[in-house]
Symmetry: C2
Subunit: 177 residues, 2 copies
């Protein structure tokens, strides 16, 4: 099947200076709004990861939840939420990570998976890779294995792809800038 | 098709005093983690809304994104994000709403839909209905019509269902407490 990646590429909008001066924001909301794009996303990542063992698809809050759900249904696997701190009840594990000024924290429920589970991590955007690497750490702290990363937009100049590959994680991004 | 709603009901976990003293938190993360539940959710809401015109499914940040994606794929419609303020680029509209202490703000992009579009709004939980009613206001401010609300868990004592019905919105919730 020939997938029309250009269709997705053309829908991504560019907003200079959002959310702050100097940042060029790549907006994928028009992609999610378009059912044809959702189907292309599903097919694209299914082709890339169909031969890899996956028990769950984990989405990174918040836009990652959309791709994670799409891929969960495609791979017929449940969806796990990797959330910002304070939003998940019960016993959880946390990881701090650096953001531009200071640190942020991500959290997972301890019972969200069991030892040995293989998890595909989904997010809309890969920049420095700090968030993605932290998500992987959480999965591994729970005894799981990262099957790979499914990313819609990769910002090559920020080095996230190199970081993830240096740690041995399979990475598939659809559109690169 | 006989849908096993009990299967979903049984997966929902109860956490007293989360996120604060006196609140009984109904946790649906085990539902999202379970592919059988995702399929039941899709079938359930499809049966309820299949005869209603829908152009988009809108999800309320953040857990609503998961159900919205599930239903978007089921209805073969695109997914719109209704977000907390400050996260959407471009021209947007905002609505304040009351939360326990003070106010919060929700936001949609102006170009997320066009006049006359019919929108099914999805969220995981309906409590007082403040968030849901605000989401509806945003859709209507953009010239759209609310086709209905798809809700996984409704907390009957908090009155959100009555509020939405008093405004004439079709409401379908799967599990009630």
């Amino acid at each position: 099947m020939q997938l029309n990646i250009d269709h997705i590429h053309n829908l991504i909008q560019n907003y200079p200076d959002f959310p702050k001066q100097g940042i060029l924001f790549r907006d994928i909301t028009p992609v999610f709004r378009d059912i044809q794009s959702l189907n292309i996303l599903g097919e694209f990542f299914y082709e890339k990861f169909r031969d890899i063992d996956i028990d769950y698809v984990a989405g990174i809050e918040a836009r990652g939840f959309i791709l994670a759900t799409l891929l969960g249904l495609k791979f017929k696997k449940g969806v796990i939420m990797i959330r910002k701190a304070g939003k998940l009840p019960g016993s959880t594990i946390k990881q701090d990570y650096d953001i531009e000024y200071g640190t942020a924290t991500m959290e997972m429920q301890r019972d969200s998976m069991k030892k040995g589970d293989r998890v595909l991590i989904a997010d809309d955007l890969l920049a420095t890779g700090g968030t993605a690497a932290t998500a992987a750490k959480l999965v591994e702290e729970l005894g799981g294995t990262v099957s790979g990363f499914a990313i819609i937009v990769e910002l090559l100049s920020l080095g996230g792809g190199k970081l993830l590959k240096s740690k041995g994680y399979p990475l598939c991004s659809m559109v690169s800038y």
